[in-house]
Symmetry: C2
Amino acid sequence: MAATEDPSGASGAPARPGGTAPAGSGRSWWGWGRTDEALPDSECTALAALLPGLPPDPLPVPDVGELTLAPPRVRPPGALAHLVSDGPADRASHTYGKAYRDVVRALHGDMTPAPDLVAHPRSEADLVDLLDWAGTADVAVIPYGGGSSVTGGVEYRGGDHAGVLSLDLSAMDRVLEVDTRSRAARIQAGVYGPALEDQLREQGGGLTLRHFPQSFEFSTLGGWLATRAGGHYATLHTHIDDLVESMRVVTPAGTSESWRLPGSGAGPSPDRLFLGSEGALGVITEAWMRLQDRPVHKASTAVRFAEFGDAVEAVRAISQAGLHPANCRLLDPGEAALAGAAHDGESVLVLGVESAHHPVDGRLAELRTLARDHGGTVSGSGGDDSGGGDTAVGAWRSAFLRMPYLRDGLARMSAITETFETACTWDRFTELHEAVRTGIGAAVEEVTGSPGLVNCRMTHVYPDGAAPYYTVIATGRRGAEGAMWDEIKSAAMEILATHRATVTHHHAVGRDHRPGYDRQRPEPFALALRAAKSALDPRGILNPGVLMDPPPREVA
Amino acid sequence: MAATEDPSGASGAPARPGGTAPAGSGRSWWGWGRTDEALPDSECTALAALLPGLPPDPLPVPDVGELTLAPPRVRPPGALAHLVSDGPADRASHTYGKAYRDVVRALHGDMTPAPDLVAHPRSEADLVDLLDWAGTADVAVIPYGGGSSVTGGVEYRGGDHAGVLSLDLSAMDRVLEVDTRSRAARIQAGVYGPALEDQLREQGGGLTLRHFPQSFEFSTLGGWLATRAGGHYATLHTHIDDLVESMRVVTPAGTSESWRLPGSGAGPSPDRLFLGSEGALGVITEAWMRLQDRPVHKASTAVRFAEFGDAVEAVRAISQAGLHPANCRLLDPGEAALAGAAHDGESVLVLGVESAHHPVDGRLAELRTLARDHGGTVSGSGGDDSGGGDTAVGAWRSAFLRMPYLRDGLARMSAITETFETACTWDRFTELHEAVRTGIGAAVEEVTGSPGLVNCRMTHVYPDGAAPYYTVIATGRRGAEGAMWDEIKSAAMEILATHRATVTHHHAVGRDHRPGYDRQRPEPFALALRAAKSALDPRGILNPGVLMDPPPREVA
């Protein structure tokens, strides 16, 4: 639920434009997003009707002041003291990401992995000083991004470091420079999505990054880059990787800055080594990002299919026709019903096209024709607006943004409610999908004793395959929710690996995906990656445990 | 001149369809391509009129049987003998790539860097055995690809290995599997361009790789991947990197195989580490490549501009308009004249669009409008054909394919004639272009004592920048041609580095580009790359000297 998906459909506008960085007050320390958006107790209680066997009352949300946090084991030198906090609220809110298992542990008041300290550097020089100190003091450094990791990417787990520092770059949040000729901007890594787009708007030129993961409000540019986030575009440029012109990365072995280049064939791409490195090789401090003109032509439509298989074939045909829809999101019957986009067992395909330069009606018409050719019923369309012409489009979009809050409400009711996502080539999709539906259905029954929901949507599609995204909702037992989910998740990773489907399309590896990732990653590449880690981070302080086991460390 | 550019313009067909792998007989051992395409002596002599001060007669082409080759210093074990040749013709033809300085040295009979042996493995198992032996015998292994490197990528230079083995994978030349649902094929790395497309045609499905570098006939899939070749598409998917689904790479530390995935966010991309690794980290043996439907709608046009600057602005507008032309090639006045596409000081922009699914007339009309808006004169167009509707398009295309043979003819006349290419963002293009024209013009005068030609074309363009490609033609002194070019090339690398323009957009780094590459590559990435090299190739046998200095070796 972290770095994923487009809240704006074809509308082109972020979901809540005008918002600014949500760091600090207003953010939930235990759950998704903003405290004022969380479900009140009464709405949580009402959710009990969704699943059999849930307790009647929600878990209370602990008061952050009453949490038990171990005393900090390390202290920064005086010169760095002004950058570092050991306040309980700061430490508590930087203990976990926002995975279901994180939320559940927080609700149960389990603060075991809390960092000793939270650092808020204001400049790259601050960051270099912090890393220097951490290296000499054997302090693990965990880049926090916006804290929206759903894969254990920001949580210290195990290891024997003398201390743990959570690194929060949210004070480094400026768009530093805009090059309108090349349509690119130099942007600091700590900026949250809304503030980034606000600054681009203020600086003129009509440019936008157009990267709208579901976490848009609560994640940062640096987090997107470090985790290869999936963005706005359902086709063509689906990952933020393609929007990167150059990056600056501070490593314990020095600062890496690639040249701003539109394209290059000079050796393996330096940026591609740091993209997806999840803070294990260095800390991304800024990047030149490719921008787009703001689209002025937009249109969207929803198509209904009686058979999910027909809808999949329609999506495959669309992905291979070179039409490049900005949105091409398929909801299976369960997902469509959950979103309120359909109630009759139909699947819904939401299609959106946009352009800053050309009318898009022709492309939308071609998309509708392809969808109809595969058995779809086009139920309406909205041209040049936010897609309001079709209620299914609107329903899906509202539900999409509301979903993480709903998940937290369900979590408080001790329902198991989590997602996982993957990607595979088209030749394997049907078999994989059946295996997931059957296998996860069975795992849910085995773990919980009753059936649950296993829904699917496709978030990003490619000419050669698709990225399905699964939602699991099941009855949990209070106090055992996390362990129950872990068992189901383990079954999911086993199924994905058996079908050679990626352990993650855009949620990153973190620590939770290590078992699947270790099977997926070619062993010689693992050797190379470990060697690169040892060269750049010889003391092993950078986000130990993500991507790989900590290599042997040089302790000063 | 190696991995670059589209010989087919918008025509979609390779220049010489139906050709098969040109390995073996018919290939020139000293110059580009096929012996029967080389300029006869009389045509070489006629070229003397082009530049002042050239000798009246061409350098003779040495008889390969009369070359002086040092005796091989190593011998393979008996079990591998059938895979290895020490024949003088085989060794001579695997001594150099096809850079100007390579051709000149060959013409002067300088075979100093000749490999001791040439290996022709027939399978991955053969290759593993060869690498095992090379590791124990301290033999450097140089993957040859198709031998079309123009950057010293296939030439052993310096170093103290006990022997040198050139590795020719041309016996591993099969399309092994085609997945028409996902539009992808598993292809062995040793296949040459024409044979690859022939096999795809034979296997049905109407699919094509559509990667047509200028070297198409004389380069292999493995070479394209190892050097991040620039291909058919002037926009969008310009590098072969984007066409890769997964790769198999044999390294001394084991074989790496990535999963076939349409997209993934699981850690840094394994493929992106091997793409551009130029044989220094492993030997690519096969890849799953993304294919396209064969285009059935094609159209092209030529646009003339009185001012090169206006043409550049037109290209920038086109690159940022989301129209994705397959061809968008700008020839400056000198280049246009050389190609016979214009004779009056005008620049020529060749535009081509293609689609397997939709008529392209509308897109071509939009492109022509944009070109006209920037001062261009549309001189004709050819719809749904090979662009024959405009003589400038046809003239450019013929000249493009003939150019390497012309270069060799000029080389025999002791003219200096070479190219270099780069890329930069739009904000820096004009300044860079002026610096190259002025600086290289001055370097040519200083080195040769008389003015030369410095022409420019743009081969690939991006929303945020462009890849200009420069041709230099000047008067050389017989016997000093190579050294003279090296001086000019050194000035070029200095200018590129000063402007932070990449040392290569698609010709690769090899050994010749090391000075520029070493300045361009961020030092922490260099540390990581060297560490990866040591982990995968601990004995330092793989293409020593490309990308980096050989790290300290474990010698058995």
